[in-house]
């Protein structure tokens, strides 16, 4: 498979002995215009990789924060087509920052797998994380995406034991996303030593970078996690800032973009201290 922006980013970070800050926001939260502004500002605020949520009505692996963020985006009219449009617009003045789309399979399935892969690639997407497509369902989207040159980033979890890890890693590319807790996004905080052991364990089976997420909320946690992995993913803490910044009608306010990017900068600083 050819090199993607993800491969390049991790390579450059590795050369500087620096860790990746992966910032998650839902596409279209709280509305498409504000969301694009946030997206544009994230690289300057220190995000090395943008993980863009594809809003879905039934995000089964997500906690209340990302559920609410997804709902806000849907209410503001976001669709999968709209998400791809956002990526396209982002790419008009940023050709370096990798973009990973994260979400659930149904909207992609309804869009049409071939059409989706084509349009995502053309829009400037680098990788996909589809929560409800385990290796057992690789024929659905993973294999066609890999063939088209998109990274398919798999989640490894505390329940993925040594017997299963090789299967989970087999068709993974770009990086491995280690889910630091058994649970939903934004819930319990991971313990550094447990995460460290897990990262070491995964690295026995792969040369891919390992980024860790689920439950990372503060700059201190991001620093702790990044110090034992190749990157830290933060989502719930960022979308919570969006939620708190909204006005009484639930609409974007003057603070929404600045506060969200300020939080991103704090988290990025944490990761860079690692």
């Amino acid at each position: 498979m050819q090199q993607t922006r993800l491969d390049n980013t991790f390579k450059q970070l590795g050369e500087r002995n620096s860790k990746a800050f992966v910032a998650f926001v839902s596409a279209g939260d709280p509305d498409p215009v504000t969301s694009l502004k946030i997206m544009h500002g994230l690289p300057t605020a220190g995000a090395d990789i943008i993980e863009l949520g594809m809003p879905f009505t039934d995000p089964m692996a997500d906690g209340p924060s990302i559920q609410a963020s997804s709902q806000r985006a849907l209410k503001a009219g976001m669709t999968l087509k709209g998400t791809l449009d956002m990526v396209r617009q982002f790419r008009t003045d940023n050709d370096e920052t990798p973009i990973v789309l994260m979400g659930y399979y149904n909207p992609v399935y309804i869009y049409g797998v071939d059409a989706f892969i084509h349009d995502a690639k053309q829009a400037g997407v680098d990788g996909l994380i589809i929560v409800d497509l385990p290796p057992e369902e690789d024929e659905e989207l993973c294999i066609p995406a890999l063939n088209a040159g998109l990274n398919f980033i798999r989640l490894a979890t505390p329940t993925t034991d040594d017997a299963r890890l090789p299967e989970v890693l087999a068709n993974t590319s770009g990086f491995v996303y280690y889910v630091s807790i058994t649970g939903i996004t934004g819930s319990a905080s991971p313990e550094q030593n447990v995460v460290e052991e897990a990262v070491v364990r995964i690295k026995r089976y792969t040369d891919l970078p390992v980024a860790v997420g689920f439950g990372v909320r503060t700059a201190e946690q991001a620093e702790a996690i990044a110090s034992v992995a190749d990157g830290a993913v933060v989502g719930s803490a960022l979308v919570d800032v969006i939620a708190e910044s909204l006005d009484s009608q639930g609409l974007t306010s003057a603070k929404t973009v600045t506060e969200t990017l300020k939080k991103a900068q704090e988290l990025a600083d944490g990761v860079k201290r690692a």
Partner: protein
């Protein structure tokens, strides 16, 4: 789709019924459902497990349930001979207990210490709370806030049985949302917890496992009809939300070509309106809750809310095996509206002295549509899968009767 040699060979090793079914779950759950598949595979071949299940079915549930000739309904419609499979007489008042007993025995066998479940009408929740009490396991039931409001008697029953009720306020606060929340709990409590799914949906092996535990309905029906009439029934009819009672009745008859099989979905205010829960009639294939099946959804693949007068049918999906049986044409799927179900509810109560749940009232309303045109020697079996005690309050409301 070409005609299958047998309709009973599914699912394949990947949990597929044709293109439907599968294992669309987060990685955290994947090892758990593989474990479950293995444990269930072993249990179903273990005579000790099967004996214990049978003993409980006989002495705890009260099986076999009668196959009752509904003489006055037959007279009323003036056509086919109508039989009711009386699963509403089971302990806890519906077919749900058949599946719950099987799953809780499996949970014990697997050393699980805590039970979770989703419920819509509360019939499954009551059955889960019942077996959890019987086997001394703590249980948490996820139930949509809307359903809690319209199913108060069942909520209280579950509490009496010692279950913890977790109200779910996301979405429309109905069955779909309760299932999301149960899955979130399961992802969080992977080591201790067994998830008793109440219908023939979810990731493999649930659709096949729940069907197997419910198939006793069809097996008994077959034997009872042979004893009673000396031949197989001509038509089977059952209501469908997720479709477990229907799958249980249909499955043993799928390869009996002479038997006409009809599933009745919840038509709500009509399937030409957005207010219904008929996933086969008004949905298209998609992926939700671990399986590919027909789903009510919009053009962007966002799941839409079902609507039905019956909380038990108010689900935007349907078991994947039903999706397969629809596409192969083996089973005919139709729908009945809220109003038609209400009418059938009252008719059955007055003519047979049986208060049906609103769910099977949908099936009965379809029986009323076809029975008059069928000959008097036509044997029609409808699955009376639940009793209507739980619906008395909401029916009173629909009939504008104040019963305090």
């Amino acid at each position: 789709m070409s005609k299958a040699n047998s309709y009973t060979t599914g699912p394949d090793e990947n949990g597929r019924f044709g293109i439907f079914g599968g294992r669309f779950v987060a990685e955290t759950l994947m090892p758990l459902i593989l474990d479950l598949e293995k444990a269930y595979g072993a249990a179903r071949q273990d005579p000790a497990f099967l004996d214990q299940l049978q003993d409980l079915q006989t002495h705890y549930v009260g099986r076999p349930s009668p196959l009752y000739f509904a003489e006055r309904l037959t007279e009323h419609y003036g056509g086919a001979k109508i039989y009711l499979k009386r699963d509403e007489l089971n302990h806890t008042g519906s077919h749900k207990i058949n599946n719950c007993l099987g799953q809780i025995l499996l949970a014990k066998r697997m050393g699980k210490r805590r039970i979770i479940a989703e419920t819509g009408a509360g019939q499954h929740g009551v059955a889960v709370a019942t077996v959890a009490a019987r086997f001394g396991l703590p249980c948490t039931i996820f139930m949509g806030a809307t359903d809690i409001e319209r199913q108060k008697p069942n909520v209280f029953r579950m509490k009496l049985l010692g279950a913890e009720i977790m109200p779910v306020t996301s979405g429309a606060g109905t069955l779909k949302d309760a299932m999301n929340e149960a899955l979130r709990d399961w992802v969080t409590n992977v080591d201790s917890t067994f998830y008793i799914i109440g219908t023939v949906a979810g990731p493999h092996p649930y659709p096949a496992m729940v069907r197997d535990f419910q198939s006793i309905i069809g097996q008994e029906t077959k034997q009872q009809m042979l004893e009673r009439e000396g031949r197989l029934p001509d038509t089977l009819c059952a209501c469908i939300g997720g479709g477990s009672n229907a799958m249980g009745l249909f499955y043993p008859f799928l390869d009996d070509e002479s038997v006409d099989i009809i599933g009745v979905e919840a038509g709500g205010h009509g399937i030409d309106t957005p207010e219904h829960a008929a996933s086969l009639a008004g949905g298209k294939p998609g992926v939700l809750h671990g399986n590919r099946t027909y789903l009510l959804q919009d053009d962007d693949g966002q799941i839409t809310e079902g609507h039905s007068i019956s909380a038990g049918l108010d689900y935007p999906g349907i078991g994947p095996e039903h999706a397969y049986l629809k596409d192969t044409g083996r089973v005919t799927y139709v729908s009945a509206t809220d109003q038609e179900a209400l009418d059938a509810f009252q008719l059955c109560t007055k003519l047979e002295g049986i208060i049906p749940a609103l769910e099977p009232s949908h099936a009965l309303s379809h029986v009323g549509k076809i029975a008059p045109d069928l000959p008097s020697d036509h044997l029609l079996v409808m699955n009376m899968c639940g009793r209507g005690d739980k619906d008395v309050f909401s029916v009173a409301e629909h009939l504008n009767v104040d019963i305090g």
